[in-house]
């Protein structure tokens, strides 16, 4: 081995070993690297080594450097400390002979870049092969990493504290249960609610020590599920408290995982529902109380409703009965039954009669509105001739129309010859509209009732058109409100209940229909009632009823006895008919003797009330006619006679009537008489 056999000049040597120095046998520095000379002013060529450096030894005082020591420890790493600065050199000794020279090779001992700076060194001062720079860079990056790690730890600690604070201050019990069912964590809210401190709880069995017996089984299942990975399972749990209070909590349980995703515990987050539960119980009790109260109230309401119905019924009877007497007696007075009257007396009696009729209308309308409002109005649907219904309605207003010289006309749409509806209520609607038309049309004007069948819409329209005073647009909205007469002057000029149009609207709606109005002040009005209509109704246009051209049945109860009232006076038909219907009779009507005879033969009523004075065929002829038919022999006939015509009663009995009653009829007595003849008692 001959070695590299290289001869380096001083510059090359200094580049490789910028911190070297050479000492002679007398221990004097005879050469040194330029960098060392720059950073270590204590080194002077020719001066003793001991002046520039001392030897740094572990566990020994600083040692004076001498030749023997160096030779003895030549294989050691020497650490020289500068006498003039903080510089420490780590050196390896190479001894060359002839002349004897001691060459020290190495570099400064620096532990960080700051020391480097303090020694006025830059990286370039080190030889490229010197790992000191690498170590410095490594130290620096490690230091940076440590700094980062500390920052990260600080941030994590901050997050942890924030989380802990959040958990502690959350207004919810939050606790952690480990795999063995022991409490691992227990927040402040749990402490406050249970009265058990975290120190009391941690390490204890959650279920056995803190859960009420009735909830234990459920909680075990909840925890088992959560530890198997089930998230957000919920359960109402009764917890034990230090002071034995009731504590009801809804817990939501979720698994807690470690960094490897393994379940390590169950986290329970709860919501105290103790107050809510108490409130719920209170509420349930209150609901039960209120339900009970409501039941009582309902019962009371039913009783009141029954009372109201009874009241309405009683009012119907009790008001109409004396009113009938008033009307009948007025009529009798007018007819001179009780002797002749002066003009002044006649006028007063007429006023009484008119007021009585008005009152009767008012009572009837009020009762109907009350019935509709209470849902008690029952419709009796039947199919009948449109013309019959219209004619019948027009007859009601014929007298007044005639007095006012009005042109009355009826236009029937041939496409709709029959209508399926509650005939009595339809007639009531039409009579109301026609009465208004007649009432609010000046003398010489016209009133028309026309029908229009809209096949495509299945609607039948009944329109009452007049050339009357008309209605202002702003008044149309409140036209159908009860007790409305648009102009107070009118209410004085034209008598009316103010209920008519309200009743028309309700009756139409009750049958699934509508009411509309078009009007122009000073020109006239058109009121149109549109009712549902089916073309199939035409299939039953020709039935038994159709033969009774002018007889109309208004039946309240299918099972009641059927009574035929034969009278040409519409008011009487209405008054007596309503009263009988109110007492559970079915009623059909005829307006002269001939109609009565025909109707009896087709309808076979249980009993006939026959007025004596009627057009076409009077009552006595009709009775005789009926008695000529042996099949009708058992049918009772009650004659209604006028007190003005003395002997009418006896003539009726002779003609075949079973009994007679004088007008004005006492309605109560009438009903009793009918029941006597039919051998039926009052309804239960």
């Amino acid at each position: 081995m001959t070695g590299p056999q290289t001869k380096l000049d001083r510059e090359q040597f200094a580049e490789l070993f910028p911190f070297h120095f050479v000492v002679d046998r007398e221990m004097r520095i005879i050469d040194a690297g330029d960098v060392l000379l720059r950073i270590c002013p204590g080194i002077t060529i020719g001066s003793p080594l001991a002046n520039a450096f001392s030897l740094f030894l572990l566990a020994s005082p600083t040692l004076h450097i001498d030749r023997e020591y160096l030779i003895k420890h030549k294989s050691t790493l020497f650490v020289f400390k500068s006498s003039s600065s903080d510089l420490m050199l780590r050196l390896q000794l190479v001894i060359l002979g002839d002349p004897e020279r001691y060459i020290f090779l190495g570099s400064p001992w620096v532990r960080n870049p700051t020391e480097l700076k303090a020694l006025h060194l830059v990286l370039k001062d080190f030889a490229l092969h010197d790992s000191t720079v690498d170590l410095l860079q490594l130290v620096q990056t490690t230091s940076t990493s440590l700094h980062d790690a500390k920052q990260l730890a600080l941030r994590l600690e901050l997050n942890r504290n924030e989380l802990k604070e959040l958990v502690d201050t959350a207004n919810a019990p939050i606790l952690t249960i480990d795999l063995l069912g022991k409490v691992r964590d227990w927040n402040q809210t749990t402490e406050r609610l249970t009265g058990f401190s975290k120190a009391d709880a941690v390490g204890k069995q959650f279920v056995e020590d803190f859960v009420n017996e009735e909830s234990q089984q459920g909680v075990r299942k909840l925890l088992d599920g959560s530890l198997e990975g089930v998230k957000n399972a919920r359960l109402e749990v009764m917890l034990n408290t230090r002071d034995d209070r009731k504590l009801l909590v809804i817990f939501s349980a979720s698994p807690r995982h470690d960094a490897l995703g393994k379940v390590t515990a169950a986290i329970l987050v709860g919501h105290d529902i103790t107050e809510l539960d108490e409130y719920r119980t209170t509420l349930e009790n209150r609901v039960a109380d209120r339900t009970s109260e409501l039941s009582l109230a309902n019962a009371e309401l039913s009783r009141v409703m029954r009372s109201k119905d009874d009241f309405l019924s009683a009012m119907s009877h009790e008001l109409r009965t004396p009113l009938n007497a008033i009307l009948g007696l007025s009529e009798s007075l007018c007819e001179g039954v009780y002797g002749g009257l002066t003009d002044r007396q006649s006028k007063s009696i007429n006023t009484i009669a008119e007021s009585g009729h008005h009152l009767l209308s008012l009572i009837n309308d009020l009762l109907d509105i009350a019935k509709i409002g209470a849902g008690k109005m029952e419709l009796e649907q039947s199919t009948d001739s449109v013309e019959d219904v219209c004619q019948s309605s027009m007859r009601f207003v014929a007298e007044l129309a005639s007095k006012k010289k009005l042109r009355m006309s009826l236009v029937i749409d041939p496409n709709g010859p029959v209508v399926h509806a509650d005939q009595r209520r339809l007639k009531q609607i039409l009579v109301n509209l026609l009465s208004n038309a007649v009432k609010f049309t000046f003398e010489g004007g016209s009133v028309t009732l026309e029908t229009k069948c809209h096949l495509e819409r299945n609607v039948m329209e009944f329109s009452v058109v007049d050339s009357g005073i008309g209605i202002a647009p702003q008044d149309l909205e409140r036209l159908f409100s009860p007790f409305t007469q648009l102009d107070s002057k009118l209410s004085r000029q034209y008598a009316g209940t103010g209920l008519g149009l309200s009743l028309v609207l309700r009756l139409a709606e009750l049958q699934g229909g509508t009411v509309s109005v078009k009007s122009e002040v000073g020109v006239g009005s058109r009121f149109t009632v549109a009712l549902p209509w089916k073309s199939s109704t035409s299939d039953i246009a020709t039935n038994d009823h159709a033969q009774d051209q002018h007889a109309t049945e208004f039946s309240a109860h299918e099972s009641g006895p059927l009574i035929l009232i034969a009278d040409d006076n519409e008011s009487n038909l209405l008054t007596v008919g309503d009263y009988l219907r109110a007492h559970d009779f079915r009623v059909i009507e005829a307006r002269n003797g001939l109609e009565a005879v025909k109707t009896v033969r087709t309808r076979k009523p249980s009993l006939v009330l026959m007025d004596v004075q009627m057009p076409i065929m009077d009552g006595i002829d009709a009775i005789e006619n009926l008695r000529g038919d042996m099949s009708l022999a058992a049918m009772p006939i009650l004659a209604l006679t006028s007190r003005a015509m003395v002997g009418d009663g006896e003539r009726c009995i002779q003609a075949g009537a079973n009994d007679y009653l004088s007008k004005p009829v006492n309605l109560k007595q009438l009903v009793q008489t009918i029941r006597n003849h039919l051998n039926v008692g009052p309804p239960k």
């Binding site: 700051t114 990286l123 860079q137 940076t144 990493s145």
Partner: protein
């Protein structure tokens, strides 16, 4: 990519635009790292994602963001992270630039996974030097411009940095001419 790069982007945004912007950028880039560690290696895509998101959130162009980052890296991050060691790389800007290739070689030795870029110097003159930048990562030449500008500022030496060769225009590497002193007075 070196974690310090990502940390530097975080610091650049947080100091100049606010922490909320940084959170917005992280969210946009889909990065859920709580904090970057300087000497850890992170996927390059993460850094590119952050830069892309930063351009959108801050309303700056990519080259603006990268240049600003390069300057910030030298003046703030490296200065803070390497401190005296950085300054020890040279007493003057030319010395520093001359030492830069060696500096990266040592970094590569210490962190073999980081794959740092390679620098070379040529045409050394008293008032100018040519720096060669070799990197497999595309599109980062603006960062180098910013870094060279930052070094000039670190040594308080007025300088002009001109990119004279472009890898993205077909050259095998990027090249920068750094001039100071008399060369910029001409």
């Amino acid at each position: 990519m070196h974690g310090m790069i990502n940390k530097s982007i975080e610091d650049l945004v947080t100091i100049n635009f606010g922490a909320d912007k940084w959170e917005a950028i992280k969210a946009k880039a889909g990065i859920k790292v709580e904090a970057f560690v300087s000497n850890e290696s992170y996927p390059d895509e993460m850094t590119y994602g952050l830069v892309g998101a930063a351009t959108e959130v801050l309303g700056l162009s990519v080259s603006q963001v990268l240049f600003a980052f390069g300057e910030f890296w030298v003046l703030h991050t490296a200065n803070k992270g390497y401190g005296d060691l950085l300054k020890s790389a040279g007493r003057t800007m030319p010395e520093f630039l001359d030492y830069l290739p060696l500096f990266h070689t040592r970094v590569a030795l210490i962190f073999p996974n980081l794959k740092p870029p390679r620098f070379e110097c040529s045409d050394r003159h008293p008032d100018r030097i040519t720096m060669h930048y070799f990197s497999p990562r595309p599109g980062l030449s603006a960062v180098v411009s910013g870094m060279l500008s930052g070094v000039a500022k670190l040594y308080e030496t007025p300088a002009e940095i001109t990119q004279t060769q472009f890898k993205d225009k077909g050259a095998d590497h990027d090249e920068f001419l750094v001039c100071w002193g008399d060369s910029i007075k001409k």
